[in-house]
């Protein structure tokens, strides 16, 4: 492991102060809505109010003095948000595929007049497709095959089937989306709340038909992302740019909460069906899995969300015969997109609840069933990847059982309205398959008068990018942590380090920075950075991602090494159900996570605590109510996320089983924590005797599950 090369690390592994705390605690950090430019106008998006149809007529029913109005005809380049498929327009031309689809843009210096401006849009309505299972259009279908599924079933003593459903989830970053476009000198600068400045850059180049250097994208301080600011800011930036170029003045578009919830992406709802062959002793012989995800109206990132979901669908379990079929279906609802976990929370919810049902059916203890089947080093995943020594499934399971006092509590809670359950899960670090090699991310280090400057496109969205990168660089260079400082990502100033997604910012970009620092150290030739600067002036070192050798992946067959490494975890949830109200209250979560190496243990624990809280919301209270293809509860009043009182104590244990590829052995940590809470909580509810197979498990759903369970002989204990 790399750490062995470094004498007495100074920063890595220690809880150094965050680089951005001073501004944030003082209220001095500048988020996009805090910025004002001379002559700035405010922008507003006029959106469709029907889920499907064609625009028949638009009429501007207001006094247009002082207004700038833009529609698709103002787009000089291509009217598509460049991402995976070129299907989503910046502004609808004729066809409407979902409610809240952008049609027209208005700008004015008075926000009141802007809000008052009334635009009449006439439609030819068509019947919307709202059920993904009856949709005629699959944006993506994929197949993973390992062994011969029928052989696996013929080896089985018992076959167990089940269907599991997960709902939409809204990100609820506390800062809503926003972008400011500033035209200047024949070019344009976009400043905004975002995860991926180069995604915005690419989308704007295509929309404007401009060359690279005329477009500059700068990330402003970002109030949370969770995937919700991965692809969507490209759309807002396009809108702001169109208005700003037409007005030749800066234009700010900041969504209010309702618009952000109605219009922007959410987690894909999923229906996952399992058919599993098992031996009486619990060994899995065949796993046949069918996944349907609701993609919404445009492709956006659905193929890769489905892909990650499918790769994780069989759980961290050895099984010789696996068949996974996945489809991402088009519906006339706002497009679903990236959200922390990226498909894996849906499929791992299904497999972990299914495993619990297998244990129940066989009469085997759920821990024992997982011990029997958990991946060991040398085992092969559903894509044929052979796991190395960095596989910790069994270790995290056993630690979590011990740490939580699982056995004791299981006994203590028996026959009460309390329950305990667990989920074993994993998450591939970085882009799927050959994604990282294709990205060929770059990072730079600059030697300046002030010290060492980190030049990356990786954004700080709260997760600690600035701090963690500085720790890695400081140690690799052998300089104090305080001498290393980050710069705000600005496409005119930093290399393309790839997007800030997929739990790759530490493992992949951190590793490139480590390479940069190693090279810079060589070039320093024994001098300190200050000595070198005094003698030779500034220096910049740039390095590019080198794919680990021996990693092979085939996108057409879904065979090979899906990820260079996986992070492993086991969550134990303890819950109490209120017999009067059917509310499930989490009492405690124990989270044992192997993330390779904690560069900054408190930041890592913060990711686990925050992701777990978000997972608790996903499991129990966060319900997107869709009516006619539109979110009906688009306010924080009625879409409820966990408060202090909904979040129980979270006992975090960090396990460090290093990966060969990340800096100091680090694996990805950002997404792993959201994969586990929902199945752990639902399994804890199951342990009380309630057959739940759906989230969010709001009390209304729990009540129905209890009703269905009454009178069934296999319900072990129904105290309610």
């Amino acid at each position: 492991m790399h750490a062995s090369k470094i004498a007495s690390p100074l920063a890595v592994g220690r809880n150094v102060p965050r680089k951005d705390s001073a501004e944030k605690v003082a209220g001095a950090a500048k988020y996009v809505d805090d910025l004002v430019f001379p002559g700035m106008l405010y922008g507003r998006t006029i959106r469709s109010t029907i889920p499907r149809g064609r625009i028949a007529a638009t009429r501007l029913a207001f006094d247009q003095r002082g207004f700038v109005v833009a529609d698709y005809r103002d787009i000089p380049g291509r009217n598509v948000v460049a991402l995976i498929e070129d299907d989503q327009p910046f502004l609808a031309e004729r066809e409407i595929r979902h409610t809240a689809e952008p049609i027209l843009l208005l700008a004015h210096e008075s926000r009141d007049l802007l809000l008052r401006a009334h635009v009449e849009i006439g439609y030819e309505r068509e019947n919307p497709v709202l059920d993904p299972e009856s949709s005629p259009t699959a944006f993506k279908s994929l197949a993973i095959d390992k062994g011969e599924i029928e052989d696996g079933f013929s080896e089985a003593d018992i076959i167990i089937e089940g269907e599991y459903r997960t709902g939409h989830q809204e990100h609820i970053y506390i800062e809503t989306n926003g972008v400011i476009a500033v035209p200047q000198d024949g070019g344009i600068t976009l400043l905004g709340s975002m995860q991926c400045p180069f995604y915005v850059h690419k989308a704007l180049k295509s929309m404007l038909g401009w060359s690279d250097e005329r477009i500059r994208v700068v990330q402003t301080e970002t109030g949370g992302g969770f995937g919700g600011k991965e692809e969507y800011p490209s759309l807002i930036a396009g809108h702001a740019a169109l208005l700003a170029l037409k007005a030749n003045r800066p234009v700010k578009i900041v969504y209010d909460r309702a618009e952000d919830m109605i219009a922007t992406t959410k987690r894909h709802p999923a229906i996952v069906r399992h058919r599993t062959g098992v031996k009486r002793d619990g060994r899995l012989t065949a796993m046949d899995i069918d996944i349907v995800m609701d993609a919404g109206a445009y492709v956006t990132l659905s193929p890769v969300v489905l892909s990650r979901g499918a790769i994780h669908a069989a759980g961290p379990y050895r099984c010789d015969h696996v068949r996974v079929r996945g489809r991402a279906m088009m519906t006339n609802t706002p497009p679903n997109g990236a959200f922390r976990g990226f498909g894996a929370p849906q499929t791992q919810f299904a497999v972990e609840v299914h495993m619990e049902r297998i244990a129940e059916t066989l009469g085997i203890d759920p821990v024992k069933l997982r011990e029997t089947n958990a991946f060991r080093p040398g085992d092969t995943t559903s894509t044929g990847q052979i796991l190395g020594e960095d596989c910790s499934a069994l270790d995290v399971l056993r630690r979590a059982v011990r740490r939580s006092g699982f056995r004791t509590r299981q006994r203590r809670y028996a026959g009460t309205n309390r329950g305990i359950g667990l989920a074993l899960f994993y998450h591939g670090s970085g882009f799927t398959g050959g994604g990282e090699v294709r990205l060929a991310s770059k990072a730079s280090l600059g030697l300046t008068e002030r010290g060492v400057q980190i030049l990356v496109a990786s954004t700080e969205i709260g997760q600690g990018t600035r701090t963690m990168h500085a720790q890695i660089v400081a140690d690799a260079l052998g300089v104090p942590f305080d001498d290393v400082y980050p710069v705000q990502p600005d496409t005119s100033n930093v290399p393309d380090s790839g997007p800030t997604v997929a739990s790759r910012t530490c493992m992949v970009v951190g590793r490139i920075l480590q390479q940069c620092a190693e090279e810079m150290k060589t070039r320093l030739g024994g001098m300190t950075p200050r000595e070198f600067f005094a003698a030779h002036g500034p220096m910049i070192v740039t390095s590019e991602y080198e794919g680990p050798s021996g990693i092979k992946w085939d996108d057409s067959t879904y065979r090979g090494d899906a990820y260079s490494t996986y992070a492993w975890a086991c969550d134990v949830a303890e819950v109490e159900i209120n017999p009067d109200t059917f509310e499930v209250r989490p009492l405690k979560l124990t989270c044992v996570h192997d993330i390779g190496k904690a560069i900054h243990p408190v930041l890592v624990a913060g990711q686990i605590e925050g992701g777990t809280a978000q997972g608790i919301g996903y499991a129990l209270i966060e319900q997107v109510v869709m009516r006619e293809g539109s979110m009906a509860n688009a306010q924080l009043t009625n879409y409820t996320i966990p408060t202090t009182l909904d979040t129980p104590p979270i006992d975090v244990v960090i396990v460090e089983n290093p990966s060969r590829y990340g800096p100091h052995g680090a694996k990805g940590v950002g997404e792993l924590p959201i994969d586990g809470p929902a199945p752990a909580i639902v399994n804890a509810v199951r342990s009380i005797g309630i057959d739940l197979r759906e989230i969010p498990a709001v009390p209304e759903i729990v009540m129905k599950a209890i009703d269905l369970g009454k009178g069934k002989t296999d319900a072990r204990h129904v105290p309610l």
Partner: protein, 273 residues
Amino acid sequence: MKGVIAGLEMREPSSLDEALSAMRNDPSLVPLAGCTDLYVALNFGTLESTRFLNLWSIDELRVIEKSNDALSIGALTTYKSIIQSKLVRKRLPMLISAAREIGGAQIHNRGTLGGNIANGSPAGDTLPVLAAADATVVMRSADAERRVPLTQFYTGYRKSVLRADELIVAVEIPSFSGKQWFRKVGTRAAQAISKVVMAAVRSPRPRIALGSVAPTVIRLPMTEGALEEGAPIQEAQRILMDEISPIDDMRSTEEYRRRVASNLLGRFWAETE
């Protein structure tokens, strides 16, 4: 999405009399105080009024006192003052339980009892307490004062007997005995809108009031009558399920509300024995 908030007009009376005469002269004025409900409606464009009367500085409406053995609570009393009041704690502890569950500290500091009544949401958390306590709403206009029992105050969904020239100035709660009980069932543990909310008093003549199960807060005379006559709780629960008329909405379902209301009645009965 945001409603238009341009063109608002705000009047700033410095006394109750001044406020009442402003309302007599201009019945289109909408009184406001803590704004914790009103601004949300304004923001979402669901409030059509544009002319407002700011009552926040009228301290004479912030008094909590005993008057003729009744407990009188001024309309502008904040939830925080209710929570801190020894008199309320002694006389009407279930009102403190309700006040605690309305929003966080910030809302306790701004939200008022009179506002909760005037807003008239069927989910208003203090309303079942006031209904179960046989509270009287005291309304005043420039010309006269009148009193209406809370149970007769509402005439329909967010509709009441309050006239455009009248202000709610206080509520009066007569002295009563019996164990008080309150339970709110929301969409999460804090800052939630009620799916079912119950306040009840265990006495020889039990009183039970529910919120969020009908267009207005309701008392349950048939259920109360059955309990008074000594019917078993299971029978009272059956009567309750027939007596309420909840609906499906984005927060919950008709069936859930009915079942939970029945369960709460059972819990109330068991806990107040």
